[in-house]
């Protein structure tokens, strides 16, 4: 681990402790996203004409302040967090399903199937991603969450398919695979018993690291106005709105941006720690 700055800083802490800490932060964020909005007297779309653009702490009811329409920023941030999390997790799930199936098939079967499948990945990689999202948005209307999911998920699995393929290829060359073959296992049995379980660690780690990436994609699309439509909010659309009033009402940018940063950090630390914990040979 020494060598990288992060490695130096983290090398002394036990990866299990790091994973636990990150998981606790994530759990708290998820609980807040699930129950926070309901526990508040305000809805994410309720307008409060008495308090427009109120800074945090200015009025007791809106402790994180309000936006230009008087909507409670605390509730909006949490419901934005909920939407961002939902999109991030769903998009990751879709990516993992496609990516693992695609990559494992290519790596395991090899030959022409491998070449064919991987060329498809190459072509998709080469397509301008933003351009496709624009077309999809134009075709299906903006703010369609299913389209958003599809657009994000379509990108995520490409890298995962490559990772899984590479991992499968290296597993195939391990001595214990030869042992399995000499033991009379069929191809499917080898795949089920020895390949997929050994992929699991990599995939879990990669998926954990992919969730924040997906959330960033969503935020990015929402920031560009291609994602969720008002009055619904995601962290990205909140940051977009906040950025416009950055000078007059900085809290509108700072609050959702802080939540986003904490969320991404927690996911990244969890992913890194899981990588250390899950590799059985490094323990």
């Amino acid at each position: 681990m020494p060598g990288s700055i992060r490695g130096c800083a983290m090398s002394r802490s036990d990866p299990r402790r790091r994973a636990l800490l990150a998981a606790l932060v994530l759990g708290a964020l998820v609980l807040l996203a699930l129950f926070g909005p309901a526990a508040s007297p305000y809805s994410y779309r309720a307008l409060d004409w008495r308090h427009l653009t109120a800074p945090p702490g200015f009025v007791a009811e809106h402790w994180l302040g309000t936006d230009a329409l008087g909507r409670d920023l605390y509730v909006r941030t949490l419901s934005g967090l909920r939407l961002s999390l939902l999109i991030g997790l769903l998009a990751t799930l879709v990516s993992v399903l496609i990516g693992v199936a695609w990559g494992a098939a290519a790596g395991w079967v090899g030959g022409r199937l491998d070449a064919g499948l991987m060329r498809v990945v190459d072509v998709l990689y080469a397509l301008p991603y933003l351009f496709i999202v624009l077309i999809l948005a134009a075709l299906f209307g903006r703010g369609n969450i299913a389209v958003l999911l599809l657009a994000i998920g379509a990108v995520g699995w490409l890298t995962l398919a490559r990772v899984v393929r590479a991992q499968t290829l290296s597993l195939k060359r391990q001595a214990f695979m030869e042992a399995a073959r000499a033991g009379g296992l069929s191809g499917l049995q080898m795949l089920r018993r020895h390949v997929l379980p050994n992929l699991a660690g990599t995939v879990v780690v990669y998926a954990t690291l992919m969730v924040p990436q997906m959330i960033v994609y969503e935020s990015f699309l929402s920031f560009l106005g291609l994602g969720v439509e008002p009055p619904r909010a995601s962290l990205g659309s909140l940051i977009n709105a906040g950025a416009r009033q950055m000078l007059s009402a900085p809290w509108l940018l700072l609050v959702p941006a802080t939540v986003l940063v904490v969320l991404l950090l927690a996911f990244n630390i969890l992913g890194d720690a899981l990588r250390d914990v899950l590799d059985p040979r490094q323990r």
Partner: protein
């Protein structure tokens, strides 16, 4: 600093015999646990100190710590004096001036110790220029001179080559040249011959003895193999669990060891010749048909040749061998001779170019994989690297139970667990280890798991690919004994691939010697290992080190110091470029496979001349 001849300076300071390197209660701790525990050792000028012990005994770490090369998490205490300089706790700068300059080090892994993308010349001249400030031209001349001293075949060409172009033995010579490059007073060698073939090992050992004599420098030879020390070491230190448990002159330790542990290690190194293995009684179901038979088997690998052309590499050619039920056959030869290829091809794990393969009397050469699967249970395989051959994410219990899960699906979980526990006990594993994963076991334990897995289906043939070479000496003996006992109990056949001729003699009735993919000699192990007919077999036998300091120097003295000649041109006998008996006839026609004595076959035109010269004891 000028380059003063090593011995002059060492003796110059005072008349008395001051130690070159003196360790005084040197300890290394990891997280409070002592791994090296109060070690005190000394090396004097012109002397070779042999440090012997099993893996994990702390042998290498002791000297790495003395040189400031222990991992950063290690806590080093005690003293390590090099001449008058204390090494422990000194700055990197001070140590850098000594390491490579006054103290040369040769690390264990000749593959890993050279930088893959730099030419040998660059890697060799770098320390010379850094420590002596010679010009590029002078450093190059010095490098050439060094490569000649370590007897590399074509030194000028070697300087231009990359590490991957060299064989293991050549790399070890280069590493030795680097260690010697600045006229060090002391060279520390960490398992310098472990990764090498016996014949190459003998050459390197002979070269070390020669260099020690010529230069009069101090040597530290760290090894797990007592036999490698005989004939080289003047004094021997035996280490166990981080402690030095016995030190003494070589003669004393070899002939009159005090500690029982030393005696055990010596006994493992000195296999009593004893009676060769006898055939196990074949079980009742045994028909007369051979368990495994190959006829005219050939395996070719496609290999990228220089340029874009792909050339076929002949890994095996014209192989005929059959194993009777209950018989044990050993396959020996240097690395790359096709031993492992033979096992894989015979088990139909790799494609063959041509030839017939029969299992239990049934021709399986053309069966599709799907039809082979149910037959595979009768022929099981044990691997060289026990850890790599076990799926890292499965527990021991699941690993050993897997063959049953696959081949006896009707068996319930409880019945399976029972049979797994019984098998674990049979191979000498505590059933409580069942919940562990492979990386939590020692090498010997992993190999026992591998054996338990293979034995689960009561196979008729056990193919063992170097099952002992990754293990410690004591584990080697135990695992060898276990294999032998299982063979007798089950009446199964064993095909053992090994380079350890002592183990072969103990475990197998017949021996097949391969050279460059061709059969050189096949015969009863007793006859073949004491009265070999083929010159290659004789070279192999002469290269085996003997753990006796009275005999070994003579044997080493007979070994040529330089590496073997270039591979033979195609056609004729493949061994002729290394053969002392080679004649014109050998270059013209391939020697026929003839039965020279009853059951003793050889492929050599001059076997009768060879048979006269009995093997030196």
């Amino acid at each position: 600093m000028s380059s003063i001849p090593a011995s002059a300076e060492a003796h110059g300071a005072s008349g008395e015999a001051t130690a070159l390197l003196a360790l005084k209660s040197l300890s290394v701790r990891f997280a409070g646990v002592p791994v090296v525990d109060a070690v005190s050792l000394a090396v004097h000028p012109g002397e070779c100190l042999g440090v012997v012990g099993e893996s994990g005994a702390g042998k290498s770490l002791t000297f790495l710590a003395a040189l400031g090369l222990a991992p950063p998490s290690a806590r080093v205490s005690g003293e390590a004096r090099f001449g008058a300089t204390e090494l422990i706790g000194r700055s990197e700068r001070t140590l850098d001036a000594l390491r490579g300059r006054r103290i040369g080090v040769v690390f264990q892994d000749p593959m890993g110790a050279l930088t893959p993308h730099l030419r040998i010349g660059t890697q060799l001249t770098e320390p010379i220029r850094r420590h002596t400030g010679l010009s590029a031209r002078a450093a190059r001349a010095r490098a050439l001179e060094l490569l000649e001293q370590v007897r590399l075949g074509e030194p000028a060409r070697c300087l231009q080559q990359y590490p991957y172009e060299l064989s293991g033995g050549m790399r070890q010579r280069v590493l030795l040249a680097i260690a010697l490059s600045c006229d060090p007073q002391l060279v520390i060698l960490d398992e310098p011959t472990t990764a090498l073939d016996v014949t190459i090992q003998a050459q390197i050992l002979a070269l070390l003895a020669h260099i020690k004599r010529e230069r009069g420098i101090g040597l530290v030879l760290v090894t797990h193999d007592f036999a490698a020390l005989a004939g080289l070491a003047d004094r021997v230190a035996v280490m166990r669990n981080g402690r030095v448990i016995e030190t003494g002159s070589a003669a004393q330790v070899f002939h009159a060891p005090r500690e029982p542990y030393t005696r055990e290690l010596l006994a493992a190194a000195r296999e009593p010749p004893g009676p060769a293995a006898a055939a196990a009684a074949a079980d009742a179901s045994g028909t007369g048909a051979p368990v495994l038979a190959v006829e005219d088997l050939a395996v070719h690998y496609r290999r990228r040749a220089p340029g874009l052309r792909r050339a076929a590499f002949v890994a095996l050619e014209a192989l005929n061998v059959a194993l009777a039920p209950g018989e044990s056959l050993a396959v020996v030869g240097e690395s790359g001779c096709g031993k492992s290829t033979l096992t894989r091809a015979a088990l139909r794990l790799i494609g063959v170019a041509h030839g017939r393969i029969a299992w239990l009397g049934r021709d399986v050469g053309t069966l599709p994989e799907r039809r082979l699967r149910p037959l595979r249970r009768a022929l099981q395989l044990i691997f060289q690297d026990p850890l790599a051959s076990l799926d890292p994410h499965l527990t021991v219990e699941r690993l050993v139970g897997e063959p049953l899960e696959v081949h006896h699906r009707a068996l319930g979980a409880a019945a399976r667990a029972e049979r797994v526990a019984a098998m674990l006990e049979r191979v000498g594993l505590d059933p409580a280890l069942g919940a562990r994963r492979p990386h939590e076991l020692s090498g010997g334990q992993c190999q026992r798991v591998g054996i338990a897995r293979a034995m689960m289906l009561a196979p008729r043939l056990l193919v063992c690919d170097e099952p002992l070479s990754a293990l410690d000496v004591r584990a080697q003996r135990q695992i060898g004994a276990l294999l032998d006992a299982l063979r007798r109990e089950q009446g199964m056949s064993v095909l053992l691939v090994s380079h350890d001729l002592n183990a072969v003699r103990r475990l197998c009735e017949r021996v097949l010697v391969l050279y460059q993919g061709r059969m050189a000699e096949l015969g009863p192990s007793e006859a073949l290992l004491t009265r070999p007919l083929h010159p290659y077999t004789r070279a192999l036998l002469e290269a085996v080190p003997v753990a006796d300091p009275d005999v070994q120097p003579g044997r080493l003295g007979a070994v040529p110091l330089s590496e073997r000649g270039p591979p033979a041109e195609p056609g004729g006998c493949v061994f002729r470029s290394r053969c002392p008996l080679a004649s014109v006839r050998c270059a013209e026609e391939h020697p026929p496979w003839i039965e020279a004595r009853a059951g003793h076959w050889v492929a050599c035109h001059h076997w009768e001349r060879g048979a006269d010269g009995m093997l030196r004891a």
